[in-house]
Amino acid sequence: MSDWIDVGALDDIAPRGARLVKTPLGCVAVFRTADDEVFALDNACPHKQGPLADGIVHGRAVTCPLHNWVISLETGQAQGADDGGVNTYPARVDGGRILLETSFLQMRAAE
């Protein structure tokens, strides 16, 4: 069985927005879509490590604020002609709280 950690309320994140969760191994960006889905990704664009949490969220994707790479929130993969990806972590909403599966604390890519 997987363990889930409460990282905050859904309402702490604006719809089509993101907030950071700090861990000893770097920041995880937690996104909320217009439909109140949540996704958790490493906060570093595969291109030049841009802070994805500062991007514009549209549909189930985010556009990196540095050079407009579009990253899928579901797969962490760059869309279109760009190539690369970031780690994604299981995330869900329960009773208005955002839960991340504990893997986000351990499985971070060595940087």
Binding site: V7, A14, K22, V30, P51
Partner: protein, 810 residues
């Protein structure tokens, strides 16, 4: 042996349970308590009663005869005040103690009343039972009512009262109506339909207090100070399972009364059905699962095997004549895609959510004819990959060959309508083409086809192509982005002509192909909307690039730069000290003097921004908007203050201009400068708007730039007074804001509309004054310091939402 059953609550679920018992010929002796002084009626139909389409008699499910025939002892208008589970008795409010073999809770739910000051005034009601309905029916023309809550119940109350001529306002705390069932776009359409019925709709509105007079409701006061006068206030913000009695009796209760699959509570002699129930964490408000529960409860009472299973549910609703449908799941899973269809002319919106080649969710507005078929796809998890291209058009389109759009247009008969707005048929367009209209502009000019909403532009072009063959070149007008085929110019024109005042409105009426746009179109739409509707439109930070969302300039390493405003480039020792202190306190690695005559603090961490701003605010400084598509700086020279050549007070004028223009949003960055003499030390002639002072007055020139392209300004007008400079600058800025494509610098706009056209506008005193007035109106809203606002209202959003230390990780 006859089972003695006591049922508490004569609602739709317990009523259905009794029907099952009696139909099966169960040997039972039923006593039915109900707090309402009547038996079971169809609560769902209260809305038609309110609207006057039906009467209470029409919606009675079980009348006195029915209860008499079934031998039910009715104790209507009586409450159960206590339960002794050990003795298996209940106590009625008159003191009677009755024994039972089985007890059934059907206590339903209570409307949730927001504990606003004044919620206990006379004239503040819920919308739950016949009494509430009758209270609303007592209103008529000339009365005013306020409904708090834009969910189904609230809107039905509003529509019912509006049909009786009551002046109704709906106040909803969320950004769009029925947010649980509908997305933005459908919510927008619903709102529009309600407004058409004369109902006032206020979304994103927070209620503050209910105002009364002599113990009776007088008005609702909103957080923003608006007072909505009313004779009746209806609160329809939700329901809570009614569990008080069950809780007192000591059965297990969470949000509702806990039941297992057999509808048994934690006590095997006590059952519960309906809205008071919690099953596997879920609560129930729709009638279908309640009826399933009723069936299971009846089986359990008769000792038969049965299990309640939660099913996929859909809601098909009619709110005030608008068809709505929503089904399935929209939240919490990976790998989903949208298919969106919009027909602005018919007011139709359809959205399907696809996952693993199955439809898992659907929202329809305006056309729900095929909803059963789509619901079937959701329930059966049908693989839709084969019909994906035409799926959204419904079952009628499945099974045939996919159509080539060009062939489809070519196959249309002459009387097929192409342009719905202007009623232009294919035949008229072909006649126009034969008469020499060989491009889109000419067809538009002669037939008006595609000249209104523009959404049929593609069709008209296809008619041109199929008529002219190779002689017609499809134009390559650049659409805003992949979400639409419309150009920036089209979108701007349509936002004004169709009075589209929200992003949802633009996306729906102009047929956006995605559900919420992208990083290209959203910032542009946000800008266009706030320029055209400064009062009505609410700026959307989530549609802004990060610099404008966080009011600082993002750097390559994700840190930010902070530039406080220095009016006209003038500063003081105190300001400089505050800047130095901030640089020390927040460990700013680089301090740089900018080309716009101010100081840039580079390398500030995002989470430090609000604290740093608070410090700078305390020293009297505000945001310099060094990150904005908006007014940046007004550069000045020292003018007559110190310079021996200065002809006018260029510094003073620069400061006045900056204080007038700061905070405005423009299509691209806007830089100004004021030079005190033609030596032009402030470099005014390579700015977007430059003022050069001369002995006889001021030369205002526009269209300069010193970026990727270097442009020298061209003279717009020479005026004699500072006041005239201010008006000209305000007016030309406003015309640029209203006319330019997003991300065009002023010179690009000037090249498109022509300097002569701009001169004509500015030289016409009426046009100039009106444009300046529109700018003033916008500035009355946008001339604020975003730093102070963010420090006050959203400082916490700059910090991480959670932080895990090493210990926690291990």
């Amino acid at each position: 042996m006859t089972q003695k059953i006591i049922v508490i609550g004569a609602g739709m679920a317990s009523g259905r349970m009794l029907e099952h018992l009696f139909d099966a010929g169960a040997d039972v002796d039923v006593t039915l308590f109900n707090a309402e002084p009547r038996g079971n009626y169809n609560r769902i139909m209260l809305s038609p009663v309110l609207a006057g389409d039906q009467t209470y008699q029409d919606i009675v499910t079980h009348d006195d005869d029915w209860y008499a025939q079934q031998g039910v002892t009715c104790r209507f208008g009586e409450k159960v005040v206590a339960i002794d589970r050990a003795a298996k008795t209940v106590t009625a409010d008159n003191g009677d103690v009755l024994g039972y073999d089985k007890l059934v809770f059907g206590t339903g739910s209570n409307p949730f009343m927001i504990p606003l000051p004044g919620h206990d005034l006379d004239g503040v009601i819920a919308y739950r039972d016949l009494e509430d309905t009758e209270r609303m029916m007592s209103l008529g023309e000339g009365n005013k009512a306020v409904v708090i809550g834009g969910g189904l119940l609230g809107l039905e109350a509003a529509a019912g009262m509006a049909a009786r001529g009551v002046d109704v306002t709906v106040v909803h705390i969320m950004g769009h109506l029925m947010e649980r069932q509908l997305d933005d776009a459908a919510g927008y359409l619903l709102r529009k339909a309600l407004i058409d019925k004369g109902i006032t709709v206020k979304c994103s509105a927070n209620s503050k207090e209910i105002l009364g007079e002599n113990g009776k409701v007088r008005a609702l006061l909103l957080e923003d100070g608006t007072e909505l006068p009313c004779d009746l206030l209806v609160m329809a913000v939700g329901i809570r399972p009614n569990v008080a009695l069950a809780q007192d009796a000591g059965v297990m209760v969470g949000k509702g009364i806990h039941v297992d699959d057999q509808m048994l509570t934690s006590d095997e002699h006590v059952l519960a059905v309906g809205e008071c129930v919690e099953h596997n964490g879920a609560l129930f408000g729709l009638v279908a699962p309640l009826y399933d529960q009723a069936k299971v409860a009846a089986q359990t009472l008769m000792g038969a095997e049965a299990a309640f299973v939660q099913k996929e549910i859909s809601t098909k609703l009619k709110v005030t004549g608008c068809d709505l449908f929503s089904a399935g799941d929209f939240a919490d899973a990976d790998g989903r895609e949208d298919i969106v269809f919009r027909d602005p002319a018919r007011g139709v919106y359809k959205r399907l959510v696809i996952e693993d080649n199955c439809v898992i969710g659907a929202v329809f507005y305006g056309d729900t004819a095929d909803s059963a078929w789509f619901f079937g796809l959701i329930k059966d998890k049908t693989d839709i990959s084969e019909m994906r291209e035409t799926l959204i058009f419904g079952p009628a389109y499945q099974g045939g060959e996919p159509l080539d759009p060009m062939a489809a247009v070519a196959a249309l008969p002459r009387d097929a309508e192409i342009c719905g707005c202007n009623g232009v048929c294919k035949g008229q367009i072909i006649d126009a083409i034969d008469a020499g209209a060989v491009d889109l502009g000419a067809v538009r000019a002669t037939t008006k086809a595609s000249a209104s909403c523009g959404t049929c532009t593609g069709l008209v072009e296809q008619v041109l192509a199929s008529t002219l063959g190779d002689a017609f070149q499809m134009p390559v007008a650049q659409p805003v982005c992949g979400c639409t085929d419309l150009t920036h110019e089209d979108v701007r024109r349509l936002i004004k002509s169709q009075e589209l005042k929200s992003m949802a409105a633009v996306m729906q009426e102009l047929g956006w192909k995605t559900s919420c746009g992208c990083h290209v179109c959203r910032p542009a739409l946000n800008f266009y909307l706030l320029v055209d509707w400064p009062v009505e439109y609410q700026d959307d930070p989530q549609s802004r690039f990060i610099n404008e969302r966080k009011h600082a300039n993002i750097q390559k390493d994700g840190t930010f730069s902070v530039i406080p405003r220095m009016w006209g480039g003038i500063t003081t020792p105190d300001e400089l000290r505050a800047i130095a202190d901030a640089a020390d306190k927040y460990h700013v690695p680089t301090v740089k003097v900018t080309g716009g005559q101010r100081i840039d603090l580079l390398g500030v961490k995002g989470e430090d921004l609000p604290d740093m701003w608070a410090d700078l605010n305390a020293a009297g400084m505000v945001s310099g908007h060094g990150y904005a598509k908006g007014l940046r700086t007004v550069k000045t020279c020292v003018g007559t203050d110190h310079c021996r050549f200065g002809t006018q007070d260029s510094t003073g004028l620069g400061i006045k201009l900056e204080k007038e223009l700061w905070g405005t949003w423009t299509p691209h960055k806007l830089k100004l400068a004021v030079s005190g003499c033609p030596r032009n030390c402030a470099e005014a002639t390579c700015k977007d708007i430059g003022v050069v002072c001369v002995d006889s007055g001021y030369q205002v020139s526009i269209g300069g730039a010193a970026g990727m392209e270097v442009k020298q300004t061209e003279l717009l007008v020479q005026v004699a007074t500072e006041a005239e400079v201010m008006e000209v600058v305000n007016a030309v800025t406003q015309l640029y804001r209203e006319g330019a494509k997003y991300l065009d610098r002023l010179f690009k706009w000037m090249n498109k509309v022509g300097l002569d056209w701009i001169k004509e506008q500015i030289n016409d005193p009426v046009i100039r004054k009106e444009a300046a007035a529109r700018f003033d109106l916008s500035q009355s809203i946008y001339r604020v310091d975003p730093w102070a606002e963010h420090v006050r209202e959203k400082a916490s959003t700059y910090k991480p939402m959670a932080e895990f230390k090493l210990e926690a990780a291990e």
